[in-house]
């Protein structure tokens, strides 16, 4: 079985200072796309989701020096929401007359993956997963399987979610008491990574394993984490940090277990706000920590003891849960 390395990483999330607000929705400030990278004629129809995908996707491929991976996999919780909303609204307001096709074309969930393929002339595997908060992990699992089975050698794997003014209005109209079911500020963002089964000078870490599961009565997350580590021949003591997100009322760590107590636990949503695929930030953060990079953030990256075996566990708890194990190589 081949190993899976991460050879490039690029993430776009809001600036955490933007979170100091009473607003419930915050949009990302996106730089203009370099016209050398993408001709203006090509960007004129692109929604923010597509632009975020292209900016991060191209940057990750540049970092990894991998301009033509064997495929592109994208996860997105809500898809191309802005164009989807735009077309839906036009149907209602214009009573199904004079509808412009552009928004419909761009509303398709696989627009981001398709546009990256189109721009980079990539005729490889092209996949789009959409499953709420485990959309990125669904794409990552597919990539992981194909790379370990040596079906492909390198894949661009990422995720993107955008906010839409129309959806914000619709949400607001529903009423305050129902607005905020996830207890946090809703944001948008993207993250793309080059996964490869070849280690090289660009390698940032190894994705040792990934799992997606639902909790059942007899099977808690804590139990599941134990089994996950065991199948990777690790004990909890060999994990130097857990970076996690939780949309369930109680994260499994709240019931403090003595073994988990010693490990630094970072709940990253204070940096990113909440969007369906915000776990890409945790993925990037873990890679940065594994490479001892310092960068400005209020999250204390280097707390907790560093160990000989550098392993970080990324957890996503919600309707479905995911575990990803990243290690330094």
């Amino acid at each position: 079985m081949q190993k899976v390395y991460i050879n490039g990483s690029s993430v776009a999330v809001i600036n955490s200072a933007q979170l100091d607000t009473t607003e419930q929705w915050i949009k990302i400030n996106l730089p203009k796309i370099d016209s050398e990278l993408v001709p203006p004629a090509a960007t004129r129809r692109m929604s923010k989701a597509v632009k975020m995908g292209i900016i991060c996707g191209m940057e990750a491929m540049r970092q990894a020096d991998c301009p033509n991976p064997d495929g592109i996999l994208v996860g997105t919780g809500k898809g191309c929401l802005v164009d989807s909303d735009k077309f839906l609204k036009a149907i209602i307001e214009q009573k199904e007359d004079f509808l412009s096709p552009t928004a419909f074309i761009q509303s398709t969930h696989n627009t981001v993956a398709g546009q990256i393929a189109l721009l980079t002339k990539n005729s490889g595997y092209n996949m789009t997963y959409s499953q709420g908060r485990i959309s990125f992990e669904s794409a990552a699992l597919d990539a992981y399987i194909q790379l370990t089975m040596n079906e492909r050698a390198s894949l661009l794997v990422g995720a993107v979610d955008e906010l839409s003014d129309i959806s914000i209005e619709v949400n607001q109209a529903i009423g305050e008491d129902q607005v905020n079911d996830t207890n946090g500020i809703q944001t948008e963002g993207a993250g793309f990574f080059v996964f490869s089964n070849q280690k090289d000078s660009h390698t940032l870490g190894e994705l040792k394993d990934i799992d997606i599961y639902r909790n059942t009565a007899g099977h808690s997350s804590e139990k599941h984490i134990g089994e996950f580590l065991k199948r990777n021949q690790l004990t909890i003591n060999q994990i130097e940090a857990i970076i996690y997100s939780s949309t369930t009322v109680e994260a499994p760590f709240n019931t403090v277990s003595p073994t988990l107590e010693k490990i630094s636990k970072i709940k990253y949503n204070s940096q990113t706000g909440i969007f369906d695929t915000d776990i890409v930030f945790a993925f990037d953060l873990a890679l940065k920590r594994l490479n001892d990079q310092t960068f400005s953030t209020s999250i204390s990256l280097n707390e907790g003891k560093k160990q000989h075996d550098r392993n970080i566990l990324i957890c996503n708890f919600g309707e479905q849960n995911s575990l990803m194990l990243l290690s330094r190589c």
Partner: protein, 85 residues
């Protein structure tokens, strides 16, 4: 006719999101597709919607569309002869 032509140019720029292009940049006889303005098949559909919505002209045959959408000149000519609003 000249008024219709500049009206068309402004409408095309808006409908097709041609952010970097001004009315003055579009020549009346320059090709809209291919080498000229560089429009594509999705733009052709948008122009079809524009004709229907603003001038009451229904173009259902793509071949007809191809001849009408050659340039601002051909488009303005067709509209002035066939408009119902």
């Amino acid at each position: 006719m000249e008024e219709l032509k500049s009206e068309l140019k402004a409408k095309i720029i808006e409908a097709l999101n041609l952010e970097e292009i001004a009315v003055e940049d579009i020549e009346n006889d320059a090709p809209l597709f291919g080498d000229g303005l560089g429009l594509d098949s999705i733009d052709a559909l948008e122009l079809t919607v524009l004709l229907d919505k603003d001038y009451g002209i229904k173009v259902t045959d793509p071949k007809v569309g191809k001849t009408i959408f050659q340039s601002i000149d051909t488009l303005a000519h067709y509209i002035s002869e066939n408009r119902t609003k």
